[in-house]
Symmetry: D2
Amino acid sequence: MSRITFLQDLLTSVFTRDGAEAANEDNRSMQALCDALLSERGEMSGNRIARSLLNRFEHSSDEEKLAFFKMLCERFDIDVQLVKSTATALAENNDIDHYSALFSSVEPRRQELFRRLNRITGATDALVNMRADLLEHLHDHPELERIDLDFQKLFRSWFNRGFLVMREIDWHTPANILEKLIQYEAVHEISSWEALRGRLEPEDRKCFGFFHPAMLDEPLIFVEVALTKKAPDSIREILTGSRDIVSVSDATGAVFYSISNCQRGLAGVSFGNFLIKQVAQELSVQLPNLTSFRTLSPVPGFMRWVNKAATETSAEVDDAEQELLHGRLNVVQRIANGEIEAPNADEQQFLKELAAQYLVKERRSDNQPLDPVARFHLGNGASLARIMPLADVYPKGLKQSASVMVSYLYDLDNVISNHENYATHREVAVSDDVRELLGEKKKRSLRAAN
Amino acid sequence: MSRITFLQDLLTSVFTRDGAEAANEDNRSMQALCDALLSERGEMSGNRIARSLLNRFEHSSDEEKLAFFKMLCERFDIDVQLVKSTATALAENNDIDHYSALFSSVEPRRQELFRRLNRITGATDALVNMRADLLEHLHDHPELERIDLDFQKLFRSWFNRGFLVMREIDWHTPANILEKLIQYEAVHEISSWEALRGRLEPEDRKCFGFFHPAMLDEPLIFVEVALTKKAPDSIREILTGSRDIVSVSDATGAVFYSISNCQRGLAGVSFGNFLIKQVAQELSVQLPNLTSFRTLSPVPGFMRWVNKAATETSAEVDDAEQELLHGRLNVVQRIANGEIEAPNADEQQFLKELAAQYLVKERRSDNQPLDPVARFHLGNGASLARIMPLADVYPKGLKQSASVMVSYLYDLDNVISNHENYATHREVAVSDDVRELLGEKKKRSLRAAN
Amino acid sequence: MSRITFLQDLLTSVFTRDGAEAANEDNRSMQALCDALLSERGEMSGNRIARSLLNRFEHSSDEEKLAFFKMLCERFDIDVQLVKSTATALAENNDIDHYSALFSSVEPRRQELFRRLNRITGATDALVNMRADLLEHLHDHPELERIDLDFQKLFRSWFNRGFLVMREIDWHTPANILEKLIQYEAVHEISSWEALRGRLEPEDRKCFGFFHPAMLDEPLIFVEVALTKKAPDSIREILTGSRDIVSVSDATGAVFYSISNCQRGLAGVSFGNFLIKQVAQELSVQLPNLTSFRTLSPVPGFMRWVNKAATETSAEVDDAEQELLHGRLNVVQRIANGEIEAPNADEQQFLKELAAQYLVKERRSDNQPLDPVARFHLGNGASLARIMPLADVYPKGLKQSASVMVSYLYDLDNVISNHENYATHREVAVSDDVRELLGEKKKRSLRAAN
Amino acid sequence: MSRITFLQDLLTSVFTRDGAEAANEDNRSMQALCDALLSERGEMSGNRIARSLLNRFEHSSDEEKLAFFKMLCERFDIDVQLVKSTATALAENNDIDHYSALFSSVEPRRQELFRRLNRITGATDALVNMRADLLEHLHDHPELERIDLDFQKLFRSWFNRGFLVMREIDWHTPANILEKLIQYEAVHEISSWEALRGRLEPEDRKCFGFFHPAMLDEPLIFVEVALTKKAPDSIREILTGSRDIVSVSDATGAVFYSISNCQRGLAGVSFGNFLIKQVAQELSVQLPNLTSFRTLSPVPGFMRWVNKAATETSAEVDDAEQELLHGRLNVVQRIANGEIEAPNADEQQFLKELAAQYLVKERRSDNQPLDPVARFHLGNGASLARIMPLADVYPKGLKQSASVMVSYLYDLDNVISNHENYATHREVAVSDDVRELLGEKKKRSLRAAN
């Protein structure tokens, strides 16, 4: 255990490292600073230049940032003719010298620029933010995607799972970290410090996040968990402050009711799947009584699909069927609009069946489900376990999914085979309940309908 | 300050992460394990596979390791024809899709293999050791250099200066770290725990090292420092246990008398230059009285050069001069052999002048000095300040440098310009003393004679 | 530095120590539990008994607690006849056996009871709270003061300055500690987490507290500090969120504007004086630019004195003078009542002169000043530097001191002599400004008027 | 968990507290320094005085220390006449004022002196060492026991079990702590760092110690544990480096084979009993497979008793019996002297029977066993489980116990009742094996023979 302590000690030094050089800004242009940082001299005097560059970028306007990215794109790109010639030479003579020459030619110099920037304290964070800024410009300036590819490569290496650290977050966590939870919570907003305390302090609430040693104050992703005696039927059961707190020793299930990425600049460098599985493992060790690990998840694309489907007619089905479907879609739209306040049993059944169809049968061109949250959990190896009408009647929930929420089950014995079936055949693992909603009988996974 | 603590806490979790899965080894062949780890399924069940692979490799024989490397080389290499075609296509149409296609084609699959291996605790260390094993085979199997290039790329990214942490090492450091010092000290052997204590406990001794958060128990490099009232004339003054201990408040100079890399597997991923400069900075803050930072360094290639020169005759100099030189070289050889036990003033002068010539004038084909330690410090921006005969009369010192040691000066005001002059013009910064030994007058840097 | 780390590690174990035994409560009466804990058997099975006793006490009603204290008082008191006989015997024969016998006889058994209770985790905190409960009953049950004397003895030993740890509290401090600041702030209320952040996060705000290793989550006392470029004229300057934040490098003064004890149960075990002086020392090391350390303090007893004086007539002064005084007192009363909203220069002068008289001249029977805050700071060796009218126009400030605040100066060169003069002669150190307000000229300390 | 971290952080500050003042020594006499520290002024300027006093004492000669103790004894003692009068007054009028007056009169001023000394960093350690010095003088100067009584009182309060922290010590523990193990090991000497590593690094070896937060670098007591598959028959099985290391998962028993107090100055402030029981608890949680907790203990007084018994004749037993006994005693003496190198079965049986008699039947005047180790473990509630001849054939073992070692069993279900029977009736819990050696049959505890 004490080897940890030595490491702890280690890390105390990182913060005093190079605060000093910040004082003296280098006033050259950003381009000149980049050139300088990549020069021989930059190898030695790099910290001051790097600090200046990162400070300058942080305080730049959107236009200045765009100009900076364009400069990176043009000035520090690869020489495609050179690449062609090294590649051609290698194809002819596949020896180490040609191999090495190829690799020299295919690395844009901005990669080395990023690595040199990263030598100073706080740079990793700054570079992640830089990419977040870059992403803002991609739509209008698709040529900048080249830089984004470089960022992705870099971050996949730096944020390798082996370097991340999972950590429980609770009411004893430093306030500056806790305020990030308030800021980043993307699923169910945290309205105040008291609300935050309600999610962290009770013994039936847990929270875990991933952190990177070079980005101290920034969770990368976090997940909120409720410990329960029975699977909840609605998000209200979880979020209400007036519930009975479940004693940890009585809890049998863990419900992951919110998972939020914190860093836009790490988009595409995913760790969510690692986090959920690691939290499940950690909890099963901490609390051996827990027998089920499931989510309480939104269905963010449901109403978008309903609304679109309501305007379409398909040549493949007959009119009567079509009419029946449109009638059901219309009911769901009225629920989403708040026109039907207390849906009856039939209406709830429509909701469930349509949601099942949406989640399992409706696919993208790559044959994955339309719903992004479904793609995430099914891709992780979870199965679609329950579809719950009236589970989220807050305004946002009504609007996006007509109150429907779903539960994905992480059965640690099956996640690997589920994942594999999904990855190779796009088979979606579902429970018998869901299968019934789809009008199917046999217990097997389902491929897309089309 | 307390944000550090949170991080400290963070890192305590890393060690309990995945010890469990070690128990169940996966008995497939190494190749099958690699394939499995790179498969879709491997994405999910990867930890167990990775653990099995690394365990298996660690306990392999040399032949098995060689076979493994060959397999890596052949099975997971790039497809050079594909690279040629993506490169050619990109040269024709330099858009993002072709750019992206190129990058996909140039990454050998073993890179992803290494990244997936690295997801488990302890893997970074294991991969560094794997490369150390690889280096053993390079001489006889130069085709494996392709893998080495991949390792280098990976490690340059992972061991980016921004992720390293400098830390003072002292008698309060955990024993398992301290024993690494005994094991890795490469310059002046540490013969016992008592000898180690003598280098760490007195207040006029300091030691600093770089560590990586994912390699807890392993210093990457460390430097030993003596605090002194005057520049020492010999290594004995530093290492003797019978010296008077200098009070920290009286010390005016810091002498770096030993710097040792600890990880063969990180050869070529250098941080020595960062370490020395950061230690100098740290010390100048801790102890504002310190006014000089210098080394007490060996001259490891001196006698090799002397012995070679003693057998050569040059067409460029006349016979008399040649005879004179050979006489001097012979004196130095006799000192190195212990035949002259107490060299007189003339003999000492020969030593100094020849050493000056060797260090400053004798160059490799790339115009850098012959001596590797000289290249390191001069390349860092230090200047050659003093040449000391009789400074190391231990057997190893006599044999490799006829007792000569030198002192390189790190003048924080000049390191950048020194470095730049060396990097661009191979100019070597020397003190007036050294210049005089070279028979020169004017105060300027010296380029190579040839 | 790393020896600290070892300790850090040490302390991680303390919390897992004896959670387990809490489960099985011991249902005997409190008195039976006390007897059991003091028995031989209790020596061994004590943890469970101690846990039961402390839990039981915590959940007792006021009456039950009172009964418990009475039981402690009667059952575990000393035997005064025995004490008399051992003391008499010792006076006759002052040898070690009689000395030892005396000490055995004068220790009430409840002392050992407290020590045995303290063997379990969390007990120190519980015992401090127990004394807080005891203090509630002292007024109506003065006989319980015997127990309080025992508590005081115990706590003076346990909370010896050498065992306390000072620590900076900032926005990176765990939330559960920060919420204690909100709860305990006794001088200037903290209304919300945002208000708290305003006192901790800006670089010109500092906060320090004392903690005890056995009471982790509980600050014992904390002091809030503002760094300023000039001495503030009012508390509004400090507390307003709309001020310009002073750069740390520009600050020349530290203003202690709030000091709050957190533990009622530690009343009389003072560490406030240690804290202020240690903070001043710490800050003078951290920020060498700081040249003055002063308070911005309330005058809590001022209006109480004014109101009393306004109803009295003294036989010692003549009528004219009396009338003049009463006129002035009346002005001050009207300011305190809010009847004079913007006092003119004369009125402000009255305020200052009367406050000076109250603070310096008005004394208790022990010749110390009437004002408790004045006693605290003057007793610490501070001097009374400034008296500021209109410095606190918040309702509480108006009511208790007619808006007057004062500044006590901690001049590190003079605190010792000031303290000594105060302690031995009750001389109050004042500035020239204050001396002038008192109608005095010569620069010397002032004794009480009577 | 993270509340720990905050504390960890807390404690980092303690060490920078007051190093500075050490520089300026106060040159007054020790007596003058004591007076000054107890004065009003000392209340403020105490740190410097305290530092001077402790430094001065540490560097004093034995004679100076003795003089200091005598001064403490005379100058800062209680006034026995005053005590008599306050005690008499209290016996007449047992009210709070008289109660309080008594307590003021019975506290020697040196208690306050010690408390004020303890305000500075490192003082606790220094005071513990001061008492160790005092103990050296007690034999020749019994009058100093008065001071020792004061020290004991103080240390029982400061080193209350609730303030101690248990911690595992292993090869990752800082070297400065580890060297204390080498230094303090009292039972089986540790000859080198390699020998130490052999006791800490293998997975079947454990070590735990108690520490106090104010004495960082000093273990108070530590215990060494071997994890085994079967109860060992000799200490060689434990200490040999050539044994097979037992996998932690295979171990079923924990053997406490060495327990050493580290601080002479804490003699009589016992924590050994707490430590063993806490380690047993800790291990039973860490390693649920462990089913037995026993010691492998020396019998330090055995040969002393044998040698004495061999010279005595008892009037109570007849000659034949006497002769028989002396014959046996003589055999044991020859074994201890190494004259019988390989005792046969009969001789071993003599050893065991005599040891059983010595351990169980031979008592001091207080009816406790003669053997100090037996008193310790039996007093803790252990039972005497096995007596092993030839268990320690190292020279020291032969000499002190003719190679006999014994095993005390800590059966967590019985320690409380065993302790109580021992404490109240001096009943010694023994195994059936031992009972048989004593010639008894019935399964019950044994009181002393006399």
